[in-house]
């Protein structure tokens, strides 16, 4: 059983999109968006990663189980990051001894 064979044009298009998005990331880094710089960079990165996962890694054409597997991994990564933040975002930064005046 062979898997889905993507057309070359699709791959080249995705490559082009990834390159453009990379340039966009760099460009946006030089624009002062304040707090939003980080968000913009992350949104673009997530979008780039999604393109790679969906098309280069063929998840678009893969079974439901494969899609579920990818989603599960991302879900638990989000848990790791967000629940760690529950602690750090709800306490003041306590200066370590070297930082005390």
């Amino acid at each position: 059983m062979s898997g889905h064979v993507s057309p070359v044009g699709l791959y080249v298009t995705i490559f082009g999109a990834l390159t453009v998005l990379t340039a966009l990331t760099v460009f946006a880094a030089f624009v002062d968006l304040g707090q939003f710089n980080f968000l913009v960079a992350m949104v673009i990165a997530v979008f780039k990663a999604s393109l790679v996962i969906w098309y280069f890694m063929h998840v678009k054409y893969a079974s439901h189980l494969t899609k579920l597997t990818v989603a599960t991994g991302l879900f638990f990564l989000v848990i790791l990051l967000s629940m760690t933040l529950i602690d750090y975002s709800s306490k003041a930064f306590t200066p370590m001894p070297p930082f005390l005046q």
């Binding site: 629940m83 529950i86 602690d87 709800s90 370590m96 070297p98």
Partner: protein, 541 residues
Amino acid sequence: MLDKLKIPERHYLNNGHSLASWLLTKDHKRIAIMYLISISVMFFLGGLFAIGIRLELATPQGDFVTADTYNKFFTMHGVIMVFFFLIPSIPAVLGNFLIPPMIGAKDLAFPRINLISLYIYWIGGVFTLYAMIAGGVDTGWTFYTPYSATGSNTNVVPTAVGVFIAGFSSILTGLNFIVTIHRMRAPGMTWFRLPLFVWAHYATSLVQVLGTPVVAITIVMLGVERALGFGIFDPARGGDPVLFQHLFWFYSHPAVYIMILPALGVQSELVSTFSRKTIFGYSFVAFSSLAIAVFGFIVWAHHMFVAGISTYAAMVFSFLSFSVAIPSAVKVFNWTATLYKGAISFETPMLYAYGFLGLFAIGGLTGLFLATLGLDVHVHDTYFVVAHFHYIMVGGAIMGYMGGLHFWWPKMTGRMYSEFFSRVSAIMVFVGFNVTFFPQFVVGYLGMPRRYHSYPDEFQVLNVMSSAGATVLGLGYALPVLYFLWSLRYGAVAGPNPWRASGLEWQMQSPPLTENFVETPIVDTEPYEYEHVVSREKHLV
């Protein structure tokens, strides 16, 4: 009824006798046997350190060993028992052996990866044993920074490397099980016809695969901090030691579910078989395994209530920690309901199951004590905690392992062991266990801290009780080695299904063929239907 039983001519144990046929095998059953031997060695090694601990604690003064040596005892006991015994135990031995036949498959999805996981376990063990021989580690199995990164002058890096490597063994086992259970089930073996043992191992595998990598990277960070002088957790270099704890416990809390979930699966099999009744609320029990696995990931900071996390975070994690008790309670209720009006009996595996039921309940309830923020602040780092987790790990997980070993031993070896001595052993374990660990609840509640080699005089009586109980417990564990080995040569031939249990594994010969089944079974019955067992037996030799 049946003719005198004989060991079958061809089976997986005599399919090749050379060392190479074992060390290069792809047969999941041979790999399981090699794991059995390996983890048994580690168990007794960890037990030696426990003996050292209990000997020291028999007297209030620190007179047996120095404080530093005592620190090494409890560290090595923890590292070996957690990473090299409990985490692999049921999955690597019973899971490896039984999951393919239980689902009607010839082997796991990736037999060579299974073998590699065994090699990796051995290599990790070598590093840890080296660290032990080179003088041990004294940081506690939790490796808290900054002591482990900068303070301790013991063999932290080799031990950490050993644990890191062993973690990959665990990951590969979990990966194998997940793919196997998804893609290798026989025709007709739908998810809801799977034995609950398989559900439990599926849930365990999810935890292994998702949690272990985080402790792996934490160990890497600890390693580069210690070996290269990077600053990540060291406050003197601007780091946060609490961050280490967050990352460490993100894995190590789910790790305790890696240790108990398989035993919960064994328990379902035992309770059902020895009440001759299908498990009450099968789907609830199945989903509760998944729930434990998932909830287990969102409660880790209950190990850090007094470490310096915010009060807000403490409250959140305390609340969530209550939730994880619910699916466990569902299981206990369902097992109890299964026993009710069942045709219960008292064979050795079931003795372990009865013990498990009570001790797991106590362990779980005391877990709720510890989840309660206000109480935990007082009993954190006391023997109350030690007693709690030993009730779950020993009273629960190890009894589950022993019960499973006694249940499936006839399938794995074709032989029955002495029922008399096995019952004696089970009772010794139960009594010894309670005498060892119940006093620890009391002494911990009264304030005796853990990880100290001396203590105030008023705690001596309870400590002596605990040490005495440990002796009985140790003997209770040593006895099975004798009668199991004896059974290999002199035990009665078991036949395919000595317990008249349900499950595809009992339709194989004992010991099984290398390829498990002659023909792929086709499943058309629900699990745990005992009326059909007798009629199926007639087809087997």
